[in-house]
Symmetry: C2
Subunit: 270 residues, 2 copies
C-alpha cells in the first residue's frame, strides 16, 4: 500500500496572502513524521465548485491514502468545505446526530439559541464520523471512502491542532506506514550549491529511501552557505538513522577538494 | 477579460512543512493588491511529472490570466520547475542566449568555472524571456502562452521578492486589471460569529464587488471576538473606499441589538 497524502487548506484569506498558511506547514510536518509521503498542498478560495473539483481530481487521479482539509467548517455563508467534500464523494450532506448533540450541548450550556448558522455546523457528509472539537464549536469530520481517509478540520489553528493531536494523529498512527524518520541537517560553508549538486545527485542514486535537499543560505557568488537536509525512513529507527549517517558521511567525504567548513545543525529520529 | 491568477510554489520542503510558505502569502497579497483575483495556490514536491500535470490542468481548465511559480530554478538535481513548465506548454527547454550571458558573466567575474549545473540555470522554455536576478544567479522566466502569462521565479525569498518588485510587478501592473482595492478591518467584541453570519451574508448579497470575511479571534462560547475584513474593488479608488465604508456601516448598524463594542483596526486603499 502506498502511503501518500494530500492537504487542502481552504480560505480566501490564504490565497490572497493576508494570512500565512501555518496550518499547511503543521499538517505537512506531522504527516511526514508519521511516515506519510506528502505530495501536494492545495489552497483554494471558499468556493464549493472549485474545492470539490480539485478534491475530486486528487481522489481520482492520485488515489492518496489520506487527504486532510482545514478551514470552512464554521457558521458563516462561506464556510462550505463539507459541502464540497460531500459533492466530491457523491454523498449527501446530512444532519449528523452525534455532531448535533455536541453542538447543542455547547450552546445550551451558555444559554445561547440554536440558530440555523449553528445547526449548520452539525451537517456532515453521509457516513462521516464527527471529530470532537475541545476548543471551539465546529466538529471535524472523518470519512473512509474506498482506500482513502478524508479528514476535515477547522481552520482556526488552536482548534485544528488540538483535534489533530488528541484525535486524528493517534488514529492515523494506528493505520499508518509505521515508518521511523531520521533527519540530519548539516551546514556547509565555502562550497557553492552548484558545486555540491553533483555529490547530492550521486548520493540520491546510491542510497534508497533517502531524500536530500540543499537550501542555499548565503550568496552563491560571495560567501556560499548551504544547509543540507537528509531524511531517511525505515521500519527500524536504528536503521533509519544509520542510513542518514551514511549519507551525511558520503557527502562530507566528497567535499575534501573544497575549503569547506562543516557543522552538524540537527540530528533527529522519530 | 477575467483577471484570475494561480500560484504554484514548488518544493518538497514546503509540502513536508519544514519551511512555512511565506512566498505564497507574499505573491498572493501582491497579486490581490494589483487587482488580480487569486483563486488557488498549489504547492507540490520537486517532481517534474506532478508539477507539469497540475500546471497543465490549471492552464486548460481555469484559463487564468497569470500563473506565478516559485522554486526549482537552482542548480541541483531536483530543481526542475522550468522542465515542468516547458512540458505543460508542450515547448522545448532550450539554452537561452541572454540568460546564458548573464549567468556566465556572474561566474566569470568570480573566476568560477561554468559547470553543467551552472549552465543548466540558463535553460528556459522556448520563447521565454529571462527575468534578471539581481540577488542570486538563476534567472527567472516570463512566458506569454495564449492568453496566459507564466512567470517563474526562484524560491529563495530575497531573490524572488527583488525580482517581483523590480521587474514582474511593473509589467503586471501595465497589463493588469487597473483596479483599486479598498480594505477595512473591524474588530467586533461581544457578538459570536454565528450571530454575525446572517448580517455578513446580507451584506455580500446587497453590495457588488465586495468580499467579506469574518475571522474568529476569541471564543465563540466565552468572550467572542471577531475580526471582520471588508474588501471592495473599483476602477476609482474613491469609489472603492466609499463602497467599503458603506459595507462597514451596514454591518455595524445591524449590530444594534447586541452589546457589541466595535473598533476600526485598519483602513487602506491601494
Amino acid at each position: 500500500m502506498s502511503y501518500t497524502a494530500w492537504v487542502f487548506t481552504i480560505g480566501t484569506e490564504l490565497v490572497q496572502g493576508r494570512v500565512v498558511n501555518t496550518n499547511a506547514a503543521y499538517i505537512g510536518r506531522r504527516l511526514t513524521l508519521l511516515g506519510f509521503n506528502v505530495i501536494g498542498v492545495i489552497t483554494l478560495v471558499d468556493d464549493v465548485e472549485t474545492v470539490s473539483r480539485y478534491l475530486s481530481n486528487v481522489l481520482i487521479h492520485e488515489r492518496p491514502r489520506v487527504v486532510v482539509t482545514t478551514g470552512g467548517l464554521g457558521p458563516t455563508y462561506d464556510d462550505r468545505t463539507l459541502e464540497a467534500v460531500a459533492k466530491a464523494l457523491s454523498r449527501r450532506l446530512v444532519l449528523n446526530e452525534e455532531a448535533f448533540k455536541t453542538v447543542k450541548e455547547k450552546y445550551d450550556k451558555k444559554g445561547l439559541p440554536l440558530t440555523p448558522e449553528r445547526v449548520k455546523m452539525a451537517y456532515l457528509p453521509e457516513g462521516a464520523e464527527p471529530i470532537p472539537n475541545p476548543v471551539g464549536t465546529a466538529p471535524g469530520s472523518w470519512i473512509e471512502h474506498g482506500n482513502t481517509i478524508i479528514v476535515s478540520l477547522p481552520g482556526v489553528p488552536s482548534e485544528m491542532m488540538s483535534m489533530w493531536e488528541g484525535w486524528v494523529e493517534p488514529r492515523l498512527k494506528s493505520i499508518g506506514p509505521r515508518l521511523h524518520i531520521a533527519e540530519i541537517t548539516i551546514k556547509i560553508v565555502g562550497v557553492p550549491e552548484a558545486s555540491l549538486a553533483p555529490f547530492i545527485e550521486k548520493a540520491v542514486k546510491k542510497f534508497a529511501r533517502v531524500y536530500i535537499k540543499s537550501h542555499p543560505k548565503g550568496e552563491e557568488l560571495g560567501k556560499p552557505v548551504v544547509e543540507l537536509y537528509i531524511m531517511a525512513s525505515d521500519e527500524s529507527s536504528e536503521k533509519a538513522i544509520s542510513i542518514a549517517e551514511d549519507v551525511a558521511k558520503f557527502i562530507v567525504d566528497s567535499l575534501h577538494p573544497y575549503p569547506a567548513s562543516v557543522e552538524r545543525l540537527e540530528t533527529r529520529v522519530s
